[in-house]
Amino acid sequence: MIEVSGLCAGYDKVRILHGLSFTVTQGSLTALIGANGAGKSTTLRAISGMIRPMEGMVRLDGTDITGWPSHRIARAGLAHIPEGRRVFGQLSVKDNLTVGAFSRLTGTRTRGDVAADLERMFVLFPRLAQRRNQPSATLSGGEQQMLAIARALMLSPSVLLLDEPSLGLAPKLVAEVFEAIAQLKAQAITMLLVEQFAFAALAIADQALILENGRIVLAGPARTVRDDPAIRSAYLGIDERRETVLERGDDCL
Amino acid sequence: MARHFLATWLSTGLAISTALCLVVPSAVSAQNAEPILIGVSAAFTGGSAAMGLSARQGIEIAAKEINAKGGVLGRPLKLVERDDEGKNEVGVQVAQELIDKERVVATVGFVNTGVALAAQRFYEDARIPVMSCATTGTMVTRQFLPPDYEHNYVFRNGLYDSLQAGKMVEEAVERRKFTRLAILADSTNYGQLGRADLESALSAKGVVPVAVEKFNIKDIDMTAQLLRAKQAGAEAILTYGIGPELAQIANGMAKLGWKVPLIGSNPMGMTSFVEIAGPNAEGARMVQSFIPDASTPRRRAFLEAFRTDYNLERIGNPPSAAQCYDAFYLLAAALAQARSTDGGKIREALESLEQPVEGVIGTYRKPFTAGNHDAFDPSYALIGEVRGGVIVSAHESDRPR
């Protein structure tokens, strides 16, 4: 469970987030939606410790984790799949997954059966199994995204933050990624999802948060947000055929 | 919290108490008479530090001895020591500081010829005598000769290059009859000035060196230089460099399995050469002004002082220490004779010392004249040899002066 209250964050002296407060309840999937520059990625980064919140509080499963460095938050059970995949290119697929279990292998977190989890990932993502010993830099974009998700799961997290998992993927792969997310939801992992395909994200989410210029302008059940034409025209753009045109992630190159 | 509290107050207390100590003037048993200030300018850091430190130690021992006997003119001698770092520009600053701020009556020291050449003009202008006791550049005492200058204030008792080069060539060409000689000199102005003197001394004997090579300070491998000398068919190597690199040459020769005699200038006598080259140093010969043996009571006391004052079994560079020690005595004698701290009078006294001055190198009888400011003549140049890890006289005839 994540509880965020009064969260302000940004880069250098520039504030991006202006006092966010929301809760992602245990085992639910919340979609975070907003235009480019609204502060979606910044929100995830401030929660996972990649940037230090300027004000406010973040709690993970009841523990105050505000201002903790990211590695400590990871050890507390929060996994963050950062935007742009960011796999460790020099390491093989298997080593990427092993490093994903770093905090389990080096003590503080309960170890469990890492080897078994590794095999489970290869079952979950059969494409990765074929490339097990290949340096991850040589994988295709879709495979890297699978690897990034699998790597995060190796932490056996209680909370998972996903930042634009569909970014730059061919439509077929997008569907695969969403399928995987749906499976995780079935395992009752708490998830916060930033997604450019707002329509698709709302379809699988329980709750929705709409972010505008660093402020939450609307929070509610995903279904309501999706089905209410007034909300859609006010926050998501115009008519539904074009709606996703609004919601695109950051551009690459 | 409590720990911080304690730590902070402890340190605060410490700081306050130390600050109080400062206010209480440190008890110094000063003699009543105002001391005579003598400047010491030498390299205590940098590449020539080994020689500079030996020089400083020699001077300090001499000053201590003289002060123990009541000083000069009833006044103690106080040393004002400054590190010129072997850098010309620092030497210039030090000279001006000693002259204008500290107002020394004379300065002893100087290791680097370049520093001496850059800094001496200020002493000359201020009419303050300089006893240059570890420089080797032949030019050092000849920078301000009449008639261009009224009087020359630079004196030296040290082995200057042309003297050393002459001795090295004599050893190589006359005594040992080598005709194919290679010169290895370092790339500093010490090495290159010496190289020039060596070449002219050789040409005076009608010998042209078969190879003239350079190496840098801190070079760790001399293969290229040695192979070039070997290729040229050298029968012996004349070196102009300082201890550590010379040791690398000796070691490099051993590595290449090419053993020809090494004949070097004064710094080959540095402890670092003998130690680092170890067995490869055996048989190397070099020009020395002083070979540390306890052959006279004076020398015994001198070596003993190093042991007690500096805890040194072996002096880093014995000639520098001995030359500077003697230089200080010469200066003290001149002060006594001049009965004045006026630079001009001291210079006059130095140029006409009436009493012989006994030093560790020898006894100086009228070492300087108005026309000659170098106390040493070729008879001061001895040939030392590394035997069993120590430097001894190579030739019987060179035994104590």
Binding site: D12, K13, V14, R15, I16, A35, N36, G37, A38, L167, G168, P171, A175, F178, Q196, F197, F199, A203, N213, G237, D239, R241, R242, V245, L246, R248, D250, D251, L253 | H4, T8, S11, A15, I16, T18, A19, C21, L22, F44, T45, E81, D83, K87, N88, E89, V90, V92, Q93, Q96, E97, I99, D100, K101, G114, A118, R121, S187, T188, Q192, L193
Partner: protein, 641 residues
């Protein structure tokens, strides 16, 4: 109105005024010489500061450049018997040439790499001076005699005044330059080199300027040093000297004339101070006392002792005194003390000493009344109907084809939308149009001329301006200065006009200031003109980028997501502004995800997907295009319950 450069000048001038009478009132030669060396070092540091402080590069070659100046004098004297007055201009020219040489690698590498290149450069120079005995007299060095000047004062005093005079001249020159478009350009290429290039401020050109200027000052210092010391030898100009100069800049503080003075004074005086053990003990006691006072005030403020009461620096200061007390001679520990000072300054005073003493100020801001006749472009020439014609443009990155045979035409005065999913190549297209990447294949014609393959600065000067998706502002400069940088093209005159402050230069500078302010007002940032760019909120930063791009007086404006991060009222202002810009005849290529903005503004929209143009149409027609819908929604639409 007070010129800021004068304010900056005031403090060092004060220091110099204090130093000036010293040599007259019969002070000892020692101090005169110390002041002389300080003055000479200061000249060099003024130059080094241009490279280190303004362009943000590291140079370990300045010791060698200093040597080049000194040896220009040395060689002229030694080989040709030519004296000071020939050496002075000659050294400036020779060292400037070497600066030019040094600038070449600096164009290719930065950071530790550049540090190494400059170190290697310095080492080679030193070896050459040492080895080329036929020219330089090698390690034996060269002796020189000071020039005869007026003969009114002793020679060394006269020389001192000469050096101080030249220092003031150098100071004034550097002040003029860094306060001018040159200084702004230097800082721009430090903060955001890519943006500088895209604003027509050629990184290449200004880096060369900076290095040449810096090298000439080093050369000037070198020749003065040679005649000041009257004896030079190669071993002086080593990497240690270069490091010493860098340390002086660090200690004194960069981007500050006062810093140069302080830095020079510290590195010259420190060894002399440390030689005096009693003085050192007093100073150490004072430092210890200061540390105690700091601690006491901290306890007062916190109301109790906390962990912060005794931090590392304070602890260091506390042990300074007992340490000094226990040592009989600190001179042996001189370098340690030096090192500790640097660590202290790097962490406690990253701005250097001068940063602590003064507060920086930007250039004077010209407030102007709103001008209804404000024109975005003053270029009278008529554009062709097809302003920009892109044909079969392809760009590959390794195996990835980011842009695949894209063709499009932007007409005069139209707003051309560019949309498409992420990774579809929109930003790549903008980067190719602005010259950041050369195309792999294909051509770009702008106003009828080929521009593909031209460097960004050249393209910018032909009339294509852009903004960046990830802000590329000159962070350390004010909003006003950010716009001024882009107005460099409107300034008349050369670097000599800047140094001399000629009327035509002043006039165009004043015009530029007025215009910069007008542009800021135009985008609605007039109130924030003084604010440092890095302090601006995200949305304001985007507006500033637009103002900056407009300062180029472009015929084509490339906007990469200008509305991202803007609030609704801001978006409305932006919409209105973009219309105004178009109405003045400037064409716009607009990448934007706010679809309502695209719909409202664009005359035509091109849709990219996977590097290819999949549609080009009027906005209204677009929403009915099945290919576009597929690209956005994905062919296999996720199941919706």
């Amino acid at each position: 109105m007070r010129q800021p450069s004068e304010r900056l000048l005031a403090l060092p001038l004060l220091g110099l005024a204090l130093l000036l009478p010293l040599p007259i009132v019969g002070i000892s030669n020692y101090y005169v010489h110390l002041c002389l060396v300080i003055a000479i070092y200061m000249i060099l540091l003024l130059g080094l500061d241009i490279v280190v402080g303004y362009t943000g590069e590291t140079s370990l070659a300045h010791g060698a450049l200093f040597g080049i100046g000194a040896y220009t004098a040395g060689v002229l004297f030694f080989k040709f018997g030519l004296g000071f007055w020939v050496a002075l201009p000659a050294a400036l020219v020779v060292s400037a040439l070497f600066g030019l040489l040094l600038a070449i690698p600096a164009l290719r590498v930065r950071g530790p790499y550049l540090a190494m290149v400059t170190a290697a450069f310095g080492a080679i120079i030193q070896i050459l001076i040492n080895e080329m005995s036929f020219l330089t007299n090698g390690p034996m060095g060269v002796r020189l005699n000071r020039p005869h000047l007026l003969g009114l004062l002793p020679r060394d005093r006269e020389y001192y005044y000469l050096v101080v005079g030249l220092l003031l001249l150098a100071l004034a020159t550097v002040n003029r330059i860094v306060g001018s478009s040159f200084g702004r350009a230097f800082q721009a290429l430090r903060d955001a080199p890519i943006a500088a290039d895209c604003l027509g401020v050629s990184v290449w050109r200004y880096k060369v300027y900076a290095f040449v200027l810096s090298a000439s000052l080093a050369g000037l210092a070198g020749v003065l040093f040679a005649y000041g010391e009257q004896y030079i030898s190669p071993n002086t100009y080593s990497i240690e000297l270069s490091i010493l100069f860098l340390l002086a800049v660090t200690l004194g503080g960069s981007r500050s004339r006062l810093g140069a003075l302080l830095g020079a004074a510290i590195v010259v005086l420190l060894p002399n101070l440390l030689a005096d053990i009693d003085l050192v003990r007093w100073i150490a006691a004072a430092i210890g006392l200061g540390a105690i006072l700091v601690m006491v005030s901290r306890i007062r403020r916190a109301g109790a002792l906390t962990g912060g009461t005794l931090d590392m620096p304070v602890a260091f200061c506390l042990i300074a005194w007992p340490a000094a007390r226990s040592l009989t001679s600190v001179i042996d520990f001189k370098l340690t003390i030096f090192g500790l000072m640097i660590l202290f300054v790097v962490y406690q005073m990253p701005e250097g000493l001068s940063g602590r003493l003064t507060r920086r100020s930007g250039p004077a801001i010209v407030r102007s009344a709103a001008r209804p006749d404000f024109l975005l472009t003053r270029d009278g020439e008529e554009d062709p109907g097809d302003l920009l014609v892109v044909e079969a443009l392809t760009r590959q990155f390794g195996g990835l084809v980011a842009l695949n045979a894209v063709s499009l035409t932007v007409k005069r005065g139209e707003i051309h939308g560019l949309i498409g999913p992420n990774g579809s190549g929109k930003s790549t297209l903008i980067n190719l149009l602005s010259g950041l990447y050369p195309p792999s294949l294909g051509s770009i014609r702008f106003r009828g001329q080929r521009v593909d393959g031209l460097p960004p600065a050249a393209i910018a000067r032909r009339g294509i301006a852009r903004t960046f998706q990830n802000l590329q502002l000159f962070g350390e400069m004010s909003a006003f200065e950010n716009v001024l940088v882009a107005l460099n093209h409107s300034l008349r005159g050369t670097v000599f006009d800047v140094i001399l402050g000629t009327p035509r230069r002043r006039r165009s500078e004043a015009e530029a200031r007025t215009r910069a302010m007008a542009l800021l007002d135009f985008v609605g940032l007039g109130e924030l003109a003084d604010e440092k760019a890095c302090n601006l909120p995200y949305g304001k930063g985007r507006l500033l980028e637009i103002a900056r791009a407009l300062a180029l007086e472009p015929r084509l404006l490339l906007l990469d997501e200008p509305a991202a991060g803007l609030t609704r009222p801001e978006i409305e202002t932006l919409t209105a502004n973009l219309r105004k810009i178009r109405d003045q005849g400037v064409a716009i290529v607009l990448i934007e995800h706010h679809i309502d903005l695209v719909m409202a503004l664009c005359d035509v929209v091109t849709v990219l997907d996977f590097g290819k143009v999949i549609a080009e149409a009027e906005p209204q027609a677009l929403s009915r295009d099945q290919r576009v819908i597929d690209a956005y929604l994905g062919v296999q639409q996720p199941a919706v319950p």
